[in-house]
Symmetry: C2
Subunit: 220 residues, 2 copies
């Protein structure tokens, strides 16, 4: 069993490596939007292959652990949670690529408005990502629940910015391409928040052994 415990630690270490790659990608894609930092966007494109490779590696490692040992209860939940979180992290890497692509396209468009709401939404989303991953590392159910509570705030900020951007488009067709990029960026930020919510739900499943998805009452 000594061996198995070490392998579980290795699984966690790999997942943390994956998390930190994805968090950097998110950070850089947001800098690409807000600071119009083209090299940050290019860094996101360059790191995509590494994220994809480590996703496959973690999946194989976790499935081997299931095959070679007969994990029960908490260990089994850890491995299943790792498989799910791994999938979410890979998709979050894809979303950072989408954001970086739109950031690049936006650099070639006239500035249509001060991007007050994007830094605000981005800040909230980054904090949700950070908290959901911290909750996994420290097995902190309260921290995981705080992530679930933030999701609605991101949704309503995004809805407000949607209507604002549509009226910018209607006012001047010159704004359309840039507004579409900004709409795509806020949509991708919202999807990052959704994946953080998934991770927080997996942490609650891991720590509490309960499935809180689609059960508002169990999230309290």
């Amino acid at each position: 069993m000594r061996h198995f415990v070490e392998e579980l630690d290795q699984l966690k270490t790999k997942l943390l490596e994956m998390s930190s790659l994805v968090e950097s990608a998110i950070q850089r894609s947001i800098s690409a939007v807000i600071q119009k930092d083209r090299s940050a966007a290019e860094e996101v494109f360059r790191n995509e292959a590494r994220i994809n490779a480590i996703e496959v590696e973690i999946d194989e490692f976790a499935i081997n652990l299931l095959a070679l040992h007969q994990p029960m209860a908490a260990d089994l939940r850890l491995i299943v949670a790792a498989l799910k979180i791994n999938t979410d992290l890979e998709r979050m890497g894809d979303l950072s690529v989408n954001i970086a692509q739109r950031a690049t396209s936006l650099m070639d468009e006239p500035v249509i408005k001060p991007m007050i709401d994007i830094p605000h939404i981005a800040g909230l989303v980054q904090s949700m990502v950070r908290k959901s991953l911290d909750a996994f590392v420290t097995r902190d159910a309260d921290l995981a629940r705080s992530v679930l509570a933030s999701d609605d705030a991101v949704d309503s900020l995004r809805t407000a910015s949607y209507h604002e951007l549509v009226s910018f488009m209607e006012r001047d067709p010159e704004n359309i391409k840039a507004a579409l990029d900004l709409l795509a960026i806020t949509r991708n930020l919202e999807r990052l928040a959704d994946h953080s919510t998934n991770i927080a739900e997996d942490v609650l499943f891991l720590v509490k052994g309960i499935d809180v998805r689609h059960h508002a009452e169990a999230r309290q």
Copy 2:
């Protein structure tokens, strides 16, 4: 072991029930767009809770199978594939809800163009969904590979319709709201295609024991 074989069959049956609910939701959301069928959209909204409930049920069932038996090789791959396909199917249910919402919003807007490309993209996507699920049931690797091959066709159709819709918006600001709905619908159709691709990749993992994600050469 007799018992375990029966339970694996039950897992497959549950997943097929989930697939058929999700396929109906996709079909209805597309009817809501193309035939402006408001009751089809409402049916999609009504069935969302059932899809969410069965997702949780399948996850619990699969995790119990892992916990109670010590599945090896092919059985283990089947259970892991079921867990992954289950997640994809639930997200596909969410995407149908998104499409049905945009369809409803579109019914209140003036018609801006004959929707020639949407039925075309929708037809392709529905065939990808069908084939990926058939490939799972019949463990047909060739059929799974044919799904991977269709993904590029959907992407390029969507890119073409994106540019067409942007020019509609630029031509007349009156078109903006309807064009945004149509953009969202094609985007959600493309995401349905992405999830079918994920399922096809899981089928290849299940049948061949190889991971083809991010490895173009292994998909041949």
